[in-house]
Symmetry: C2
Subunit: 170 residues, 2 copies
Amino acid sequence: MKTGVNEEIPLNRSLSELEQQVIDVFVDGVKVLGMPKSLGEIYGLLFLSQQPLSLDDVVTKLSLSKGSASQGIRMLRELGAVKEANANGGRRTLYQPDVDLKRLVGGFIREQVRPHLESGKGKVNELLKVANQEDDKELKKFYRVRLQKLEAWMSRGRIVLPLLQKLLGE
Amino acid sequence: MKTGVNEEIPLNRSLSELEQQVIDVFVDGVKVLGMPKSLGEIYGLLFLSQQPLSLDDVVTKLSLSKGSASQGIRMLRELGAVKEANANGGRRTLYQPDVDLKRLVGGFIREQVRPHLESGKGKVNELLKVANQEDDKELKKFYRVRLQKLEAWMSRGRIVLPLLQKLLGE
DNA sequence: GATTGTGTTCAAAAAGAATTGAACAAACCG
DNA sequence: CGGTTTGTTCAATTCTTTTTGAACACAATC
């Protein structure tokens, strides 16, 4: 789990105090969502940059490895949190953040939450069959009630999450 | 590189197949929320138990350490996901799950999300001041816009999350 | 007031997740 | 082509978090 904030000692000369602190906010944010720190760093950097940035800019400014930056950007793109900026000539690609909350939340739900709800639903249906093999009548009934509750939770999630997204977007 | 001969088997004799699988579902669930596996195990076990269970039951059935079980139960109680069952005489305390989705979600929001939104909001207010020291007029304006967006996101979160909770509870 | 049953705490160990770095691919250019 | 620039991949390493286990506290029991 997570406990208090841990003190940062990055001392990165190329990041302004402001940038550093905004990044901290995003790092905190992505950690709450159970995602790696580097995603928060990269998104935070882009969020506070007037110009779109290249992979190399990210590597330099955040002083993380090329591999890490590459994977981080990929993930952010899958989430729809970062987009390519230009596709100009054969030049290196530049990235900029998507700053539409509704879409950010939508991406998160689609990529991180949905899959689990889907697979969970299927699994519980299986389990209901298993539960029916229980001999003890009382216990069987109890199992059914609980499993159905679990199933109901998941259905509800699948209904409510898109609604949440909509609420955030207005 | 493994040669599938002697796969490590959990092989916990005291958990039925059904229990094990339901626990898996909950473990998956808590991991999505960025919480330790043991919370899912404990909650899952309680969720599928007709009788309330003691700390010792949990330790035995899940074969995890007393320390882990103790801390896990504490966290689940703070989240409001688990309650004491009886408080009968000077006997060992028994635990049972709260199975009300609305309250579960409420506890999660209160314990895991709210604190970050609160502290984040404060921090961003600080940062707006810092941003105003920027000399470049254009850049200063850009910073203000972005920081205000960030602030707006947090406000919206604080409004919408309780609403989400309400929606889930109906 | 010693003993036993319950539960908590926390330093150390183990498990697990993220990051690095070097090798590799692909596209461009002269 | 051969060289350069840009980006990806993945095994090895590093870092973080979780779990363990033994010591401790408390209270009930004999």
